[in-house]
């Protein structure tokens, strides 16, 4: 999809976003978003929306949330200068280190925020979905922290390829429910969590892990993740002496990307979201939703999705389970349509190369998801020399060791020199 709006309309929508007027009262980001949920869940969504309105920006909730971010999550996370990457790329590279947050990824910001909200809303138990397991682990940890029982829905295929995270969730006290329906990955896990929620909309709090789904989730998740961009912006000013020329983040559902980008929208910074290019350009060979998808309704929101001509949602392919999703958050759909953020994709093989380079250059094992952002940044640096680049390092790569062992490390340039 290319830019959808005429320049004037794009500017009006972007200004509204920057002013904080998006989503609107109907949960819309321009044409995208909304709330497409079964009637049984409408009262539950009404309650959630009212709860978000009442608590999210109230001083009491914010004090508790900020304390947990500081003392339990370990925020602020570091901003790291990358001297060797900078040299390799002919750029000035800075890394926002969400891998240093508790449980190893940005997912924890959202999980603890929503767990605190669930507690305030009087939920009896929490359910969550997970793909790679990072949101599942974060939810399990956050629920243990606030004292709520937690059930995590996870596709059977993902359980097999992310076995260590399954064990982590169970040790953190969560029940892990194997999802044997649909494609047995993240999308099926979300469908199944919704089905469970329908059985007890009063007692269950659904802790959704990305900036996707029906209103108010895309808004709620953005607000809880925006701490990434706010911190990074200030740290760039303090440590680098100025804002970056360009910022990169990987995009699956898009929670870390919206968290990094949202506080930077008003600045003169080029913003680039990087989706999973998988193994090729064909339908089903990648998860490059914004690059190749079309508008449709999936799992509660009108957004850009990967679908066939009959409106059937297509399966995706990516080396990273966390990007392996057929939809994308509705706010990203608008950011693309207004032209404010550019969305591109990186292939599996490029992500692996970038991951290896980062390990060797800076001693950071990044997540396979995050590696896509590095791959795109490296390409960008080739064409745009001497830029100041900020990369959102959304998570650490320890969880990917079972996948990485299939790709033996190559001889490193500086070792052989």
């Amino acid at each position: 999809m290319s830019t959808l709006f005429a320049a004037e309309e794009a500017k009006r929508l972007l200004d509204a976003m920057i002013k904080g007027d998006m989503p609107d009262a109907r949960g819309r980001f321009g044409p995208f978003g909304g709330r497409y949920v079964p009637e049984t869940l409408v009262p539950a969504f009404d309650r959630l929306e009212a709860g978000v309105k009442e608590h999210l920006h109230a001083p009491g909730f914010q004090a508790e949330f900020q304390r947990e971010l500081r003392e339990w999550v370990g925020r602020p996370t570091a901003l790291t200068f990358a001297p060797q990457l900078s040299k390799n790329w002919g750029a000035e590279v800075w890394i926002k280190r969400e891998d240093l947050a508790h449980t190893g990824a940005h997912k924890i910001n959202n999980a603890i925020g929503q767990a605190l909200l669930a507690k305030r809303l009087g939920a009896k138990r929490v359910i969550a979905e997970t793909g790679a397991g990072q949101h599942g682990v974060a939810s399990a940890a956050a629920c243990a922290r606030v004292g709520l029982p937690c059930s995590v829905y996870m596709g059977a295929v993902d359980m097999a390829r992310q076995a260590p995270n399954v064990d982590r969730m169970r040790r953190l006290g969560a029940e892990v429910v194997a999802v044997e329906t649909g494609d047995k990955t993240l999308r099926a896990a979300i469908d199944e969590a919704m089905r469970e929620w329908v059985t007890d909309p009063d007692g269950i709090y659904y802790l959704l892990g990305s900036a996707v789904g029906a209103h108010p989730y895309p808004y709620l998740v953005r607000e809880l993740q925006a701490v990434i961009g706010r911190e990074a912006r200030q740290q760039m000013l303090d440590q680098a002496g100025g804002l970056p020329d360009v910022a990169f983040a990987c995009v699956g559902g898009g929670s870390n990307a919206i968290g990094l980008f949202y506080p930077l929208l008003a600045d003169d910074i080029e913003l680039i979201g990087v989706e999973a290019g998988g193994i090729g350009d064909g339908l089903g060979e990648n998860a490059a939703t914004l690059a190749t998808g079309t508008p449709g309704v999936l799992q509660g929101a009108y957004t850009i999705i990967l679908q066939d001509d009959d409106g059937q949602v297509q399966e995706t392919q990516s080396i990273s389970a966390g990007l392996d999703y057929s939809g994308v958050g509705p706010e990203h759909a608008l950011l693309q349509a207004t032209g404010r953020v550019k969305y591109i994709s990186a292939r599996d093989s490029d992500a692996l190369d970038a991951l290896e380079e980062l390990c060797a250059s800076e001693g950071i094992l990044t997540a396979l998801e995050t590696a896509h952002a590095y791959a795109a940044a490296r390409e960008y640096a080739k064409k745009n020399p001497r830029k100041r680049i900020l990369i959102g390092n959304s998570g650490r790569g320890d969880k990917d060791m079972p996948t990485l062992t299939q790709f033996p490390a190559r001889t490193r340039r500086h070792e052989s020199a």
Partner: protein, 259 residues
Amino acid sequence: MKAHERLSAAISAANDKGRPALVPFITAGYPEPKDFIATLKDVASVGDVVEIGIPFSDPMADGMTIQRSSFIALQKGVSLKWIFEQLDTAQRDIDVPLVMMSYLNPLLAFGYEALAERALASGVCGFIVPDLPFEESDELRAALEAHGLGLIQLVTPATPNARLKILCDASRGFVYAVTITGITGGGAGLPADLADYLARVASLSKIPVCAGFGIRAAADVKAVGQHAAGAIVGSALVEVLERGEDPKSFLKSLLGDAS
């Protein structure tokens, strides 16, 4: 008569015979696409209105039985376009009004205007869209109503009274009263406070109310029939088809105690 009025009329005609209307649901093209029309005719020979399920890749309001039937139908190439083509061949032989049950995205992909025209031409009188709440439904409703087709609203035991009134007023053809808080195909049976709930819906609705979810046996049809104009039978019928049994005799058995 507008298309959606055919639905209300068919349900009332059954009630005039002293029984609740029977609304069977089948997943289009399940278990075999080649048998779709034959199955539809069988089901229509007993049912008063027939609900045709459009398979979708993400049936989030459905339980295992309908999910499974939906995936198998998709694998075998069933699409909305194909279903319309099939209906064209059979229309003259089916005299009960038809309703389509579809998640929103296949309808969006088809285009609302084309959908309404095509549906009317194929004998379809209304649509049930489980992931389209009233607040998001203006556009589809307008396109359907321009052709006399009805958008059938679902209500649930969790729906507050004020909202119930709005949904009943907006609904066309009939009101779909979901009997349980859950997904289709649950095994827990009908809830104890069913009578109050159905009576509440019926008192607010100017059109017939049909109850669905959890209706599996003649006793269930009889129970909902005391408070609702019709009974919708989905998962239990799809299970019959799954086992390769005769849908006609199953549906007749459901009416046994009530007629």
